[in-house]
């Protein structure tokens, strides 16, 4: 009985897979050129786009970062936020957050309540007031440290752990029922 099949045999046909050596080199050369182009792109992009990701301590205590474009992270002090909607000028202060911590919310809370932590004033121009800019939010900023001890940021990303984390309820006078 005739059988109609639309699938190719899974068995490899050795005779068809062989190709002249020069043909193989042609493909290898093409691949090499392509790889070189991508490598050059990545290298030049890395050199122009690389930013040190630093803590407030590092930026404030190391003068070599003055004038350099860097990224830094810190905890926002809510009562320092000043925003002028007419000009878009935004200023606030962030406090140092250590590199290692167990819980982000706790680390941010400790940063803003501990007066011994290094603090840094941030200045931004032509901004829309970010919705998440609030007390104890984590700010990730890109910009330059000025000679005047202020950080002039051009980009601001915010993360509010109380919104993305779970937290615990604070019950003032827990009226309890037994199980």
């Amino acid at each position: 009985m005739a059988q109609l099949t639309w699938e190719k045999s899974s068995l490899p046909n050795k005779s068809k897979t062989s190709r002249p050596a020069w043909e193989r080199y042609k493909f290898l050369a093409g691949g090499g050129v392509l790889l070189a182009i991508v490598a050059i792109l990545v290298l030049s992009g890395t050199l122009s786009g690389a930013r040190f990701f630093l803590s407030v301590d590092s930026v404030v205590h190391n003068a070599s970062y003055v004038g350099q474009t860097v990224r830094l992270t810190g905890a926002v002090l809510g009562d320092t936020i000043v925003y002028d909607p007419k000009t878009g000028d935004l200023a606030f202060t962030i406090a140092h957050v250590p590199d290692q911590f167990d819980d982000l919310a706790t680390a941010l809370h400790e940063s803003v309540t501990d007066p011994s932590r290094t603090r840094l004033k941030i200045v931004m121009k032509n901004q829309v007031m970010p919705d998440l800019l609030q007390h104890e939010a984590q700010a990730i900023l890109t910009g330059k440290m000025g000679d005047d001890g202020m950080f002039y940021a051009t980009e601001l990303n915010l993360k509010c752990p109380s919104r993305f984390g779970q937290g615990m309820p604070e019950l003032n006078h827990p009226v309890v029922k037994t199980n």
């Binding site: 009985m1 005739a2 109609l4 639309w6 699938e7 045999s9 899974s10 490899p12 046909n13 068809k16 897979t17 062989s18 190709r19 043909e23 493909f27 392509l34 792109l41 990545v42 992009g45 890395t46 122009s48 786009g49 690389a50 930013r51 040190f52 990701f53 990224r71 992270t73 909607p85 819980d103 982000l104 919310a105 032509n126 829309v128 007031m129 919705d131 998440l132 609030q134 890109t142 990303n157 915010l158 993360k159 752990p161 109380s162 919104r163 993305f164 984390g165 779970q166 615990m168 309820p169 604070e170 019950l171 003032n172 006078h173 827990p174 009226v175 309890v176 029922k177 037994t178 199980n179």
Partner: protein, 689 residues
């Protein structure tokens, strides 16, 4: 009660998944058909069990059971019912449960549909799917339990525990309700309600092709069966992932108030990586189907796609990546990293083993530099190169600098804006050229002939742009590449229709219908190309020609915001909504040559503890006038606005719609054997009998 039911269902689903792994693998190795069958049934059982768990959590959310810590963290008594339902994926634990449900759903359908046709692959494929599912359910049970509850210990301190601690008391329900947080206001948006489920469907859907590929490697059935069984699954997962990415962009555009939709954030990029590798796989799989080539490469791509899914999940959920989109830091980071590394190593290890045994040899060699298979491979290289450079910029450079230099170096937007455009340009050029080349070999003359009409149309269009719109050299090159890809897709479709009309004397409508019915994969693919073209044009226009201005206006004052438009501030209303938020709504009139075009109403919603800036926009296909209310004085007489004019931005969304339609067409079930061939085969069979 909801917590107990949910917890029991999750626990049983975990046991069922573990049993399914054992029964399928051991049963298959020892030829015990009944054991394998029981493993299949256990795998199928995971879906109803997880559905029960999801229903239990929904019941808790809808009934306001705030003793469950998840319910307390994502809802409060003011939360509307609709947002209580969507709060299921509003935070880590619930979204992990939802993720597990979707994965078990995909697994159950794949098992159900393929069990008989792919009998040799299915036990192993089931085991892989269940291993992945068991891992995620394990995370739910042991790290991020959505049914954990608040208790009061003997010192009257609130503690969180899944099981009832000894001597624990129940906190007062009224106080729990009063302190409940409610869903993050930023997540109360249509795009954000649908975006996560779409993204999860895309992510979890890729488990099916991954499982079939691993099953093919483990069982030794390396025929095209696994490709045949998984192509549609890959398309479906890709469709949802595309939809998730587009909706995420739309959410950012509407809610985040910076007039853009893609910020090159590590978590955004992590979701883009599987899309890129998955797209490469969808193209190269055609070469294996048609020419029996790229067997190893296809395996690599399908393994890497799911590996990228797992890595993206780790990046988003572990909290170790600094991103505005990531969840809070949690304990699941290390287990997730371990699982990702394990699955990737197992997959690549099996692949190397089969390859060394010579079981993945290609059936044909590459014939010429301009053959369709060569150009498809080139297109694959571009997709993979894009994935690699984005991975390097988002994760590679920061991790490597930390390890080698002991200081973290991150690559900002500048890196991505410098490195990715040339690769996207190459992608669009190949999208234009590759479909016109023939399998095996094509001459330059033949390719030139095929390209003539689309290239001419591209030239005319670009000339038209030069004379009618602001341009730069970079934008013209980008437009030309994108238009070429789009015109090739349209031209090829037109040629198909014309051939049918000439040969079969069909009407236009009948010819179009027949064309898409007979070869949905090809013509659905062209529609996808058209969608990508339109997205590309939208991205170029909105990225390179965005205008922005800040204006402080008194009521009744009009200002010129662009050569074309003026805007007038009419009024500011202050009110309180039913759910307690204070809303400031500004009314502005957009005018063109002093004629009223429309009214725009940007607003600020002041939720307790957080404000939310909601844009107002006048949208046309040509541009968006996008207005943000940034502040107002106490009397409401003066207000400040940030105004963006975003040219062509709506093409990004409409291109997305066309891309989705094209993918649906390409994935639509159709007869693999044409009707006429089937009739001929039937006649031959009858004659032979």
């Amino acid at each position: 009660m909801s917590a107990e039911i949910g917890l029991a269902a999750v626990g049983l689903a975990f046991l069922a998944a573990l049993y399914a792994i054992f029964a399928c693998v051991y049963g298959e190795r020892t030829y015990q058909g009944r054991l394998v069958l029981s493993g299949r049934n256990a795998a199928l059982l995971t879906f109803p069990l997880l559905l029960i768990a999801v229903c239990a959590l929904w019941t808790a959310l809808l009934s306001g059971d705030y003793q469950i810590s998840y319910v307390w963290s994502v809802s409060n008594p003011q939360t509307p019912i609709f947002y209580r339902i969507t709060a299921l994926w509003g935070s880590q634990q619930g979204s992990l449960l939802f993720w597990s449900l979707l994965m078990s759903g995909f697994s159950a359908v794949a098992i159900w549909l393929n069990w008989r046709s792919e009998r040799r692959l299915m036990p192993y494929a089931t085991a892989v799917m269940m291993a992945t599912l068991a891992f995620f359910i394990g995370l739910l049970l042991f790290f991020e339990n959505p049914f954990a509850r608040y208790w009061l210990d003997s010192a009257q301190q609130v503690i969180q525990s899944t099981l009832i601690p000894a001597n624990a008391l129940t906190p007062d329900a009224g106080q729990l309700a009063a302190t409940a947080k409610g869903l993050n206001p930023l997540l109360r948006h249509f795009g954000m309600i649908i975006h996560p489920p779409m993204l999860y469907l895309g992510f979890t859907g890729f488990v099916v092709p991954f499982a079939f590929a691993l099953a093919a490697l483990a069982s030794g059935d390396l025929s095209p069966n696994w490709i045949k069984a998984t192509r549609r699954w890959t398309l479906i997962a890709w469709l949802f992932l595309s939809l998730g990415l587009i909706l995420g962009g739309r959410w950012a555009y509407d809610v985040l108030g910076w007039g853009g939709y893609w910020g090159w954030d590590p978590v955004e990029n992590a979701a883009f990586l599987p899309w890129l590798i998955g797209t490469a796989f969808l193209h190269s799989v055609m070469i294996q189907q048609k020419r029996g080539m790229l067997k190893v490469w296809n395996m690599v791509l399908v393994l890497l796609t799911f590996s990228a899914v797992l890595f993206g999940t780790f990046a988003t959920r572990s909290g170790v990546i600094e991103s505005v989109h990531s969840f809070a830091r949690s304990q699941i980071g290390f287990p997730m990293l371990t699982f990702w590394a394990t699955m990737t190593i197992i997959g690549l290890g099996l692949l190397v083993w089969r390859w060394q045994r010579g079981e993945l040899r290609d059936e044909h060699a590459f014939a010429g530099l301009l053959s369709r298979e060569t150009l498809f491979v080139l297109n694959n290289v571009i997709f993979v190169a894009l994935a690699l450079v984005i991975f390097w910029g988002s994760f590679g450079a920061p991790i490597l600098s930390e390890l080698v230099l002991h200081t973290e170096i991150t690559l900002g937007k500048e890196y991505f804006m410098q490195v990715t455009p040339p690769l996207f340009l190459a992608m669009y050029l190949l999208m234009g050229i590759a479909p016109l080349s023939a399998w095996s070999a094509t001459t330059i003359a033949r390719l030139g002939n095929a390209l003539f009409v689309p290239a001419l149309l591209t030239l005319i269009t670009v000339a038209g742009i030069v004379f009618t719109s602001p341009t730069t050299l970079v934008s013209l090159i980008g437009y030309a590449a994108a238009f070429l890809a789009g015109y090739v897709a349209l031209w090829e479709t037109y040629r198909g229709i014309r051939a049918r009309r000439g040969g079969k004397r069909e009407s236009w409508a009948a010819a179009i219908q027949a064309l898409f019915r007979r070869n949905p994969q090809r013509y659905g693919g062209y529609l996808v190309h058209l969608g990508i073209t339109i997205i590309g044009i939208g991205v170029i226009g909105s990225t390179l020609f965005q205008l922005e201005t800040r204006q402080t206006l008194r009521q009744g004052e009009t200002v010129q915001i662009s050569p074309e438009y003026q805007i007038r501030f009419d009024a500011l209303e202050r009110g309180i909504s039913a759910d307690g938020r204070e809303i400031d709504t500004a009314t502005l009139t957009l005018l063109q040559d002093s004629k009223i075009v429309t009214q725009i109403t940007p607003r600020i919603d002041n939720f307790p503890g957080q404000a939310m800036t909601i844009s107002g926009a006048y949208s046309t296909l040509e541009k968006d006038v996008y207005v943000l209310l940034t502040g107002a004085d106490a009397t409401g007489q003066t207000a400040t606005f940030k105004i963006y004019i975003n040219p062509l931005v709506n093409l990004v969304w409409w291109g997305g719609v066309i891309l989705i339609l094209g993918t649906l067409l390409a994935a639509w079930p159709h007869d693999a054997v044409p009707e006429r061939a089937r009739q001929t085969a039937s006649k031959i069979a009858k004659a032979a009998a």
